[in-house]
Symmetry: C2
């Protein structure tokens, strides 16, 4: 792997591709296919919402700007739709079978973004003001609720036994997502969080929905529980790898790429993996970091902090080994995810594409 | 019907019982049965939530006080659970068949209360501080989300075709509930709302979930769509009657009984039925009311208003006929609801009990 020199914007964990035959152009094509097949269905679903919720949702998805003018916004990386379509193919169904699942997962993901941004007081997402900043807290709550309901509606109106099973898995994932957000909030008020607690929280907050994305297409395609569970395991560990990378980008990410503030997670006092691993490591840097963060915890907010004060904390996290530990954890989870694919009898092309998506998740810069 | 003298706390619309053989003791027993059978299942469901969401939910339901001590709070009238159980019996199933439906509907209802109280800034519910006042906005959002997810989870884990159909109906009702809240919020910012718009909003906000409560037990009991639709129609119009009475209580209700402030809906500038009917009526009182409310709309809030200022507005609403119109509307919707019962072939006892519940809804004082 490449050296971690602590410079923001640098690629942090580099992973040897699981399948050298699959290059980044293929991943781009997979992401694009997911976007192309799911976006029209997503837009039609959002069009069902009553005014002004349809407008607010369209703003959130980047289809219009704050003044209602058409926009070509950054709708996110679209990893989940790509996974849902490949998931259908893994069960021998055409990719289109996964589309309602892809859209339902995207709706739940965006429901959680709308509510989390409000709860966390985040003012920016994808380089734009968040919904609660532009349209007010009530609309952020309401449109989030509506997207959640729409996700279930879209699946259940398929009226099949498979759709019922898919909805049940999505509901379980959504409950875990909410548990994870509850843990995330409560950890922000605690002085110490263990590495295990942090991993459990991230498994709930990120792993569960990626697990659902990776299995929902197969479930809709009639896969048995064993196949669906193996694909869930792939998605779950991919989610943990994804989140470990997110935690690295939350401290050392390039604001131009991530669309977030510098030292974003440190500003919010997030007990993310690099922080908890550094605090658990022991030694002088770990202890100094612990003292600083304990003192910070007594301030009502960190708005008055200079860039240097955050840089000091980031350097201590790195010195205590939190950055390296998190990079290793991303690679470890990536390996478990890819191994899980061996438990499913699927076409070699689909397996290679799922492995390529896993590689992409750990080398991304945003 | 009794005279409407404009004194708060008086019973407003009196309706001749549809079945004189069913008295209020029977209704109390029906409500009690709904509570007794559904509460243990509801509590077990809430116990699944991660800390601190289980505590926050227990506070919301009145099982503990703000300090976590056991409480015997007022959990609401429990009309919905009573309906869900009778609904199962209307389809020839035992009342117990309706329990998961009763609990799912209660979970959705309370999800909407948690979010609506926050969006509307309501500080009191059922004589206690609302969740966002005690535990903060983030917990109100999060626990609301969790209750919504739990409702679907509870139904879908039954794993039957009937449960899938029930979940689909519940999801549709929830979407309407959210549409109704969106309309309610947007109407507060508009100077004029038509009576038709107000009825549509109330149909979404109150009718849809009562429709679901009145049909979900039957759906779980294997009823065909025709039976379920007729029971939905009963519940929908019962919901409109319920809401018309709520609108009367929101202006002229006794705060001791309702647990809300005096002139509650006027303080919040709600465009409720008595208000929109009075504004649509024409004549000197209607015009004077229109002038006053247009001037009020320019104030940032009405906190500085005296009791007399609200009393003046309430008197104008009554003089313009808004109170009488709303009482008549409650009776009209009650009649349509009871008529819908004739479209279902059900035991005479169950029909009489559903009719008695309808009577109760329109004569209640809280």
């Amino acid at each position: 792997m490449s050296a971690n020199t602590g410079t923001r914007g640098e690629t942090v964990p580099t992973v040897p591709p699981a399948n050298p035959a699959v290059d980044t152009a293929d991943v781009a094509a997979l992401l694009e296919r997911g976007r192309t097949l799911s976006t029209p269905v997503l837009r039609a679903a959002v069009d069902r919402l009553a005014q002004p919720m349809d407008t607010v949702a369209a703003y959130h998805f980047g289809w219009i700007d704050a003044h209602g003018r058409p926009a070509d916004g950054d709708g996110g990386k679209a990893v989940r739709p790509a996974l849902a379509l490949l998931s259908a193919e893994a069960a021998g169904a055409p990719p289109e079978t996964g589309v309602p699942g892809a859209v339902a997962v995207e709706l739940v993901h965006n429901f959680s973004l709308l509510h989390d941004d409000l709860m966390d007081g985040d003012e920016q997402r994808r380089h734009r003001d968040t919904v609660w900043k532009v349209h007010g807290p009530a609309q952020a709550i309401l449109v989030g609720d509506a997207l959640f309901a729409l996700a279930n509606e879209l699946l259940l109106e398929l009226g099949t036994v498979e759709a019922g099973r898919a909805t049940r898995r999505l509901t379980t994932a959504t409950r875990k997502l909410i548990d994870g957000q509850a843990q995330d909030i409560s950890y922000e008020h605690r002085e110490r969080v263990t590495v295990e607690e942090c991993l459990e929280m991230e498994g709930n907050k990120t792993g569960a929905l990626l697990a659902c994305a990776a299995s929902i297409g197969a479930v809709l395609g009639g896969a048995d529980d064993r196949t669906a569970d193996a694909l869930e395991a792939y998605g779950y560990h991919l989610g943990l790898a994804f989140q470990a990378v997110d935690d690295l980008l939350g401290i050392w990410g390039d604001p131009v790429a991530t669309g977030k503030q510098t030292w974003s997670d440190l500003r919010q006092r997030k007990k993310s993996l690099p922080v908890v691993a550094a605090l658990a490591a022991g030694g002088p840097a770990s202890e100094r970091l612990g003292e600083l963060l304990a003192a910070d915890a007594k301030s009502p907010d960190l708005d008055g902090f200079s860039e240097e004060e955050f840089a000091t904390r980031a350097a201590l996290i790195e010195e205590a080994g939190g950055r390296e530990w998190t990079s290793r954890e991303a690679r470890r989870q990536h390996a478990i995810a890819v191994e899980a694919l061996d438990r499913v009898d699927m076409p070699a092309r689909v397996r290679a594409q799922l492995a390529a998506l896993a590689d992409f998740v750990v080398v991304r810069k945003r």
